[in-house]
Amino acid sequence: MGEVIIAELDSPERVVQAARSVRALGYARVEAFTPFPIPELEDVLGVRRTRLPRLAFVAGLGGASLALLVQWWTNAVDYPLDVGGRPTSSLPTDVLIVFESAVLFAAITAFAAVLVGSRLPRLHDPLFDLPGFERTSLDRFWLLIRDAYDDDAGILDEAQALLDAELARLGAVVTRARLTEAGA
């Protein structure tokens, strides 16, 4: 366990091609590390669409309801104040804070969801120990194949040779490494 294959490529087009081939050979636990977002990679690697927008929507609704409840209860129930005979519970004057709270709650939730979903913040990750990983934030594109040596992954023996040939064709620098722990 923990043994992985790393293929380093030098362009966004090649990493997409390599990912496509690797997936076609039957490897399932494949990760890519890139200096900037490459939306095509997400489809190739089968990244499931995040539920973040739905979460933010629910949080926004929650914020809006809370704001409405607080304004109604404080100004109409607990501390009603007669200002020129105007209604104590008035939706038109409440709606601005309702809107602001909806945005505030949705934004904080969206921000938190990005971090939590990516397991951030973290002080260390076993990947950071791999030599050359620091270049993935600069101009290198990594494919990390986690199930290359899994016996129960159901990958054909021929796949290994085909994989090497394909990665070599794309000019990838291939290394084998052992991760100290399963960095998710």
């Binding site: 900037f36 977002p37 945005v103 934004a107 990516s118 600069l138």
Partner: protein
């Protein structure tokens, strides 16, 4: 210095000037941008010192105001709101452009926003910080600011939510929070590349902490992209709401010249107008001093100038509607305020400064040469800011100075402390902005590399396709 200078500007697919003139590799682009931060220019230290000394003026004026009392300001009955609120409205208006550029233009897929969005967002944050100072100080006893927040207390009272002042608190704090989150989320991948490229150990450590352990896997990027776009999407209506709420402080009052339905859109247009001007004021010297003309290109100047022209015309239209509806109302106080007091009264000078700076200045941008001239844009941006400050002063002060009863009329005159606060916030704003330039990659690196990739792909498709 860079290979980019040799490349002649080739037009984009839409026939416009290119948004990026860089011929090097991703690594070269990254290192070039990181270098601006890792090896700061020589003027940085004296500039930081100078603006810090200026900020001391602000701190001293705040200390004097708080320890002595709000009477050290020039405002009094009948002009209860003057410099303090003018500065608040002006600064918060400036703060609008950042989110407008980042969020609104992100949704419209305007690619020229990429190189300047972080710059504009930082400007937003620091401008909102300056703005927030004024209502706090204006309270007189700023240590009781939390009375505006609904919390169960022994006095058994609650804030009155039918007052626009409570809306202000919600709008401004939300705006500050959301702008900060949006800015920081965009920054995380670039802090990661800082972490990976810095040479000194302490520097790597420091950037590592702020990069939060970013790895840049395809899944991370996916979530980041969706989250960032979503924040942009919800920040866009927020931009429009903040200055609308601020304008309600005036519009729901019954004073002549304030009680008008045009106020929310009028204020929002003015806010974006002054904000774009501030972005230009800061961007033009910075792109020159840091030599990033190939990243912040003439195309950016051109687009920003067009935005100034458009928002300038919305402002002109608002002035016209304001005057017309005052006349059409047939109400003598409204007519007097808008058609007599403002243009010909004791503050007439301010009025004509507003007309000259806000209405006439942007008209030079009908000419392409003016739009593409950094010097013309810079001077115009300064004039627009003067004009927008004067507009807020005119709106706020004149209505209070001459209200319904001539026996209660009175004029406002600023004190030295009023002036020190305005000057001090400018210095403090510049100080914070220089700190940002000094420590943070101020041009979004990951987004720019993505743009470079996309521009290259499109060019290839046009050549082969």
């Amino acid at each position: 210095m860079s290979a980019a200078a040799a490349v002649p500007p080739r037009p984009e697919a839409d026939g416009e000037l290119p948004v990026l003139e860089h011929a090097g590799t991703y690594a070269e682009l990254t290192d070039e941008l990181l270098d601006k931060v890792l090896r700061p220019p020589r003027w940085m230290r004296p500039a930081l010192l100078l603006t810090f000394l200026g900020s001391l003026v602000l701190f001293a004026a705040i200390a004097y105001t708080v320890t002595t009392g709000i009477g050290v300001w020039g405002n009094n009955i009948p002009v209860a709101w003057a410099f303090g609120i003018t500065n608040f409205v002006w600064w918060i208006g400036i703060g609008h452009a950042g989110t407008f550029i980042s969020a609104f233009l992100l949704l419209l897929e305007q690619r020229w926003r990429t190189s300047i969005n972080r710059f504009a967002e930082a400007m937003t944050l620091f401008a909102v910080v300056q703005a927030g100072l004024f209502p706090l100080l204006h309270m007189g006893r700023p240590w009781f600011f939390y009375w505006l927040v609904p919390y169960p207390n022994t006095m058994k009272v609650w804030p009155q939510f039918r007052s626009a002042l409570t809306w202000d608190v919600a709008a401004v704090t939300t705006y500050l929070t959301v702008s900060l989150l949006f800015w920081y989320l965009g920054l995380v991948p670039d802090l990661a590349v800082m972490r990976d490229r810095a040479r000194e150990r302490w520097r790597r450590r420091a950037y590592a902490i702020f990069a939060l352990g970013w790895r840049g896997s395809a899944r991370d990027w996916h979530r980041w992209r969706i989250g960032y776009g979503l924040l942009g999407g919800i920040a866009t209506p927020l931009v429009v709401s903040v200055h609308s709420v601020v304008s309600s402080d005036f519009a729901i009052a019954n004073l002549a010249g304030w009680h008008s339905l045009i106020f929310p859109p009028y204020f929002v247009a003015g806010a974006i107008y002054s904000g774009f001007a501030m972005v230009l004021t800061l961007m033009i010297p910075a792109r020159r001093l840091y030599r990033v003309e190939h990243v912040i290109t003439t195309r950016h100047l051109d687009s920003m100038a067009k935005m100034l022209l458009v928002t300038g015309w919305i402002v002109v239209y608002s002035y016209a509607v304001e005057a017309w509806s005052a006349w059409y109302s047939g109400e003598r106080y409204e007519m007097y305020m808008t058609l007599v007091m403002r243009p010909f009264g004791p503050y007439a000078f301010v009025y004509w400064v507003v007309i000259a700076c806000n209405c006439l200045t942007p008209q030079i941008f009908w000419w392409r040469r003016a739009r593409r001239s950094a010097a013309a844009l810079w001077v115009a941006s300064l004039l627009v800011q003067v004009g927008m400050w004067a507009e807020r002063f005119m709106l706020i002060v004149t209505s209070q100075a001459h209200d319904f009863l001539p026996s209660s009329w009175g004029l406002y005159r600023p004190t030295v402390i009023d002036g020190a606060l305005l000057f001090g916030t400018m210095a403090f704003f510049l100080f914070l902005f220089l700190l940002f330039l000094r420590f943070v990659p101020f041009i979004p690196i990951a987004e720019l590399k993505e743009l470079k990739h996309r521009v290259a792909t499109e060019r290839e498709e046009r050549v082969h396709g």
